[in-house]
């Protein structure tokens, strides 16, 4: 079981959709530089624990869609497989809202519906 603590490893202020122009705290940066690598490094049957409320106050829909649902949209993984590998955790009950939204966005995303510009480089 591997762990990805967004507030500690990525940013305490995750915001925006794309790296250009929104920077290294964007959803794209999270997906491409952290989440995708962490998912690819899992052993069969292993889960990735994603802690979403440690040092983070809130999220925007743009970040969550790009960061999590982008994995499906760009064809990196199927939605069910991604949900099986993810274990989203929080201690603040208010963050249940964001967990539900992440699951909703992953389920609604269409697999490989868009081509990511850097897809061939990964």
């Amino acid at each position: 079981m591997k762990e990805l603590n967004i507030g500690k490893k990525f940013s305490t202020d995750p915001s925006g959709r794309y790296i250009d122009p929104d920077g290294d705290a964007s959803g794209e940066a999270f997906r491409e530089n952290y989440l995708r690598d962490a998912i690819n490094s899992l052993e069969p049957g292993e889960k990735l624990v994603v802690i979403i409320d440690d040092g983070v106050e809130s999220y925007g829909s743009s970040f969550l869609v790009e960061g999590f649902a982008g994995m499906v949209k760009y064809g990196y993984i199927h939605p069910k497989e991604l949900l099986d590998k993810l274990d989203i955790r929080y201690t603040d009950e208010d963050f249940e809202f964001y967990k539900d939204k992440i699951i909703q966005y992953i389920n609604e995303a269409k697999y490989n519906s868009e081509e990511y510009p850097r897809k061939n480089n990964i």
Partner: protein
């Protein structure tokens, strides 16, 4: 003619026995009555005497019996009265104890009923106040979100106003969280009185408004103004506010 003079009393009567006797004067016998008539009269006199004595005896017996009756009645009544008195006294004691117990029970029951009525009444009042307070607070948050989000989306990103834009972005994300929290509380405390449509509208509002307000190019330097998004925000907020008001005024 040997008629006893003592017999000849005229218009006399034995008041003590209450029996009237026929009395004739002696002179009447001397001049008007023959011997056979005297025998008849004598026999009548004897018969009358016997009858009178029988009647007297009977009356005496009757008097004795009559005298005894009141005594037995008195005795019976006395015994009965005594029994009744005892019974009444006992009953009164029993009834007195029962009545006190009943009165105490009724008083306790009344007090308990009053307590229960008070308890549920004030509980309902408190609940109603809570619903009103949370509902009004929720409406206030929605109005604040609407105002901030409209201002944010009606204008494009402007680097000269990046501090104000950042403040709006932070405010929008914080208010959406607060709205989700308050909506859950409102649903929890007023679940039984909310209609299906009201429940769905309030439940679905936070995730829906989150998608509209923080979707697209939210927090992006490439963000353009979006009149369509502003319209969606305004409509969603108005719909949910009217729903919450209908719950609050119920």
């Amino acid at each position: 003619m040997n008629v006893d003079d003592s017999v000849y009393h005229k218009n006399d009567s034995d008041h003590s026995s209450g029996v009237a006797t026929v009395v004739l004067n002696k002179s009447d016998f001397d001049h008007n009555v023959n011997e056979s008539d005297c025998r008849v009269i004598e026999s009548i006199r004897l018969s009358s005497k016997n009858i009178v004595s029988v009647i007297d005896d009977s009356l005496v017996g009757l008097e004795e019996k009559i005298d005894k009756i009141p005594k037995s009645i008195e005795e019976s009544v006395g015994v009965a009265s005594s029994d009744i008195s005892e019974a009444v006294i006992k009953s009164n004691e029993d009834i007195g104890n029962d009545a006190i117990a009943l009165a105490v029970f009724v008083a306790i029951l009344g007090a308990f009923s009053a307590y229960l009525f008070n308890y549920f009444h004030w509980r309902m009042v408190r609940k109603k106040d809570n619903v009103n307070n949370i509902g009004m607070e929720l409406i206030g948050l929605i109005e604040e979100l609407e105002e901030t989000a409209l201002r944010y989306w009606i204008r494009p990103y402007d680097k000269d106003q990046k501090e104000e834009i950042l403040v709006d972005e932070i405010r929008i994300k914080t208010i959406v969280r607060q709205i989700d929290k308050q909506a859950k509380i409102l649903k929890k405390i007023n679940n039984s009185k909310m209609g299906r449509n009201e429940k769905e509208c309030i439940e679905q509002f936070p995730p829906k408004i989150f998608d509209i307000v923080t979707g697209g190019d939210f927090e992006s330097k490439k963000r353009k103004s979006s009149k369509g998004r502003a319209m969606k925000i305004s409509k969603s907020c108005s719909d949910v506010k009217s729903n919450i008001r209908s719950i609050v005024i119920k």
